[in-house]
Symmetry: C2
Subunit: 459 residues, 2 copies
């Protein structure tokens, strides 16, 4: 990028807000995937007004603007393949207000989600969405991807907590949406349109979030099933009974074996699936009744063993197994590629069977776990990236994973987004009519195509 533009950017943000050495650019060239590309310049704004000025400059010069939080995305949405400006939101990380009466938090987009949670929990409130990146990913990034997490079964996804946004549009104008309002049907739902738009329609600089009362207790059960179908039936039976656990996490036999091999938790190796079920709430009696009712349903549906944690130590131990999946995968193979397909809940057993078929066909392990209550599965292919034959196989396997999801009435992503990696499959998932009108919306809001170009939509 030429020095004149860099000087102009420095005038907007101050000199410490602009990075352009090769070393600095390298830091901002990747996300949580294997993809990598350097921006021409990194800008670290401190205010919405600065973002607006940067975008006006970018619009004038037709330079791409790729916004990123902490770069933990899993679809390469924040990798700047076209170069241009990377806008890092990490300096805009203030909590502007916690309104205890209306149960809202107004924050800047760059705040780390866990930091927000800690702050609101201090006053008895709760921000439920819990993507596994929670300790380093930002609210802005979570909103841009409409992030999920284990607790979303009961509490809903990030988008369910977005009451209002401050957004810099492609022409530099500042859009303010929503308010401290639970119901609002005035005009189109701009909060929902911008949530999950992956930086292609506008740059989120602030968010007004809905909070709920902080749950004060939880009960957890680890349930073993000899038969995967029984595990799937159990999920539906629990929900049909009107019990909505915070979490129903599934690990299939491949995930259990992988954890056990690496970490020796004493998990059973002769089961097809385990469910980790957690109920939570503000009334201990209710939370206990719910886990007991869920446990009873598990036994009725053929569970081999139901282990309800008797105390906090045992509960924490049960979670340790679930949280060990990713570290265990890292010990088993040099690389993993985790996908994020969703299917109708009833199709989970068939999806897992077909995923196993793909694994057998290509001779690479696929480890499967996910959010069973939501039908959201994370099949992780284990491989060695330095073996070109394996990498080629992985690419074919991913395509087959997507085909399985679509064939079963599912889709490409439940919580990671499309980014760059899934855009070749977008039209297959949505059909030409939907893809066409979504492109028209993109064109209407960003006619110069400067906001995160080359993402979400196929060319």
């Amino acid at each position: 990028m030429n020095q004149t533009l860099i000087t102009e950017l420095e005038k907007i943000t101050g000199r410490d807000g602009v990075l352009s050495t090769p070393e600095d650019l390298a830091v901002y060239s990747y996300d949580g995937t294997f993809a990598e590309h350097r921006p021409d310049v990194v800008v670290l704004p401190r205010t919405t007004e600065q973002v607006s000025q940067v975008v006006r400059l970018a619009a004038r010069e037709h330079i791409p603007v790729v916004t990123r939080g902490m770069g933990s995305g899993l679809a390469a949405a924040s990798v700047p393949f076209c170069g241009g400006i990377t806008l890092s939101m990490t300096r805009m990380n203030r909590i502007l207000e916690i309104d205890e009466v209306n149960a809202t938090a107004h924050v800047e987009a760059g705040i780390v989600t866990a930091d927000l949670q800690t702050a609101v929990e201090k006053v008895g409130l709760f921000y439920p969405p819990d993507p596994s990146s929670i300790k380093h990913s930002t609210i802005g990034g979570n909103i841009a991807c409409n992030a999920g997490g284990p607790r979303c079964l009961k509490y809903g996804v990030t988008g369910d907590y977005v009451l209002g946004l401050t957004v810099v549009l492609a022409d530099g104008n500042i859009l303010r949406t929503g308010g401290k309002l639970i119901k609002d049907v005035v005009g189109y739902d701009m909060n929902a349109l911008l949530t999950g738009s992956e930086g292609t329609l506008g740059i989120i600089t602030k968010a007004l979030l809905r909070l709920v009362a902080k749950p004060i207790c939880a009960r957890t059960a680890l349930v073993e099933f000899s038969d995967l179908d029984d595990a799937s039936r159990t999920v539906n039976a629990i929900l049909s009974a009107g019990i909505v656990p915070a979490t129903i996490e599934l690990m299939d036999e491949t995930a259990i074996a992988c954890i056990e091999e690496a970490l020796h938790f004493g998990l059973p190796l002769d089961v097809e699936a385990t469910l980790l079920i957690e109920t939570d709430g503000t009334d201990e009696g209710t939370v206990v009744r719910e886990i007991e009712a869920a446990a009873k349903i598990c036994r009725e549906c053929g569970a081999r063993q139901v282990r309800v944690a008797k105390d906090e130590a045992e509960r924490s131990n049960l979670w340790k197994a679930r949280r060990s999946v990713s570290p265990a995968l890292a010990r088993k193979a040099p690389n993993k590629l985790g996908e994020d397909i969703t299917v109708p809940r009833s199709a989970i057993p068939e999806a897992i069977r077909q995923l196993k078929g793909v694994s057998a066909k290509y001779g690479l392990p696929i480890v499967i776990f996910g959010h069973a209550g939501d039908g959201n599965l994370h099949p992780n292919i284990l491989f060695d990236k330095h073996d070109p034959d394996q990498w080629q196989k992985v690419e074919q396997m991913v395509t087959e994973e997507f085909e399985i999801a679509l064939r079963l009435g599912g889709t490409l992503s439940g919580e990671h987004g499309v980014g760059a990696l899934k855009r070749p499959y977008l039209e297959q998932a949505l059909g030409p009519v939907s893809t066409g009108i979504q492109k028209r919306i993109k064109q209407a809001l960003d006619p110069l195509n400067i906001l995160n170009p080359g993402k979400v939509f196929p060319d």
Copy 2:
């Protein structure tokens, strides 16, 4: 409309699907408001394909298409002020599938919401949204307005239950969105964009709806407050305690007096507000604990009396009072104009005080009730439409009601929509930037402006 076009329409739907006598047109000239205008022709399609063909004809001829369900809307969104084609969806009223395992219902847009509810409740499932028009309004209309209702506090609004839509776009193309998926972040959230778009972006012909387990018990309490502020504090205290009742309905002293005067229920005339609180669920123990905990909080917050219904008969009696508001209003004055403002929950007392100020200023009664948990108030102005002086006052009063909502951080509508009646206030509510990009979205999806022209947006 000329006979050639009518013949063409008849070829699409059959002769019984096209109405054009003045008597028939009159039937389709109004909704739930005072507005009225005849369409040039009424078409009653039976399939999505027929709707598509009608829209292609309309696009070719640049004729407006106004879609309506049962015409119970409260913002004149389905009144065809520009004439043209009124598309009545009432013949598309089939249930296509109830999927008990995935807890979904696939229905045609013209099904009456209560009919859907009855059908799914037969298999132990539940479609929660409950607009007061539920016995005659349609799912398509509910989605087009993102309808709410008393139960939305716990269960969310109509949009929270939309998993997928079949929509005829302005060029006649058929768009299919979503699926039996709880989580889906592939592309923009088209379900959310279309929900609440009031027929301006596309014509909803089918909907795939999320269902939940049917609650099997409920407990209800009527709570009297001498002081409106105490009632408001109580709402926040209940929610802060982690109790989420299905319903927290507020009636202020004007509503209580109005019911009492007309129907002699024995309600107290010396209180400033009552709250009707209902808890529900699938576990009776929990439901009882919740209403008891809520009742305790009411007493702690200064309630004068808390009356928890001891049995179903008493419960039904408590609801009778709330449901009598509208009939009671009808007995008190020849006409009423009910608005639908929302404010942050904390601003409810101030909103009510300012609404009373408007009533005093113009000398016409405003009766106030609403969904206190959501901050959604229905101030009803009582008047005589045949008195031109009163009608002029009503128009000024409505403007002041909107100004109050906006001044307190609220907005024009929580569940009725903008339609024709609130479009003069839209830009004041949303600001020019938001209004501008929403118009661009409308323009991108309906370049000829044939879908419900003259609604939502100011010219």
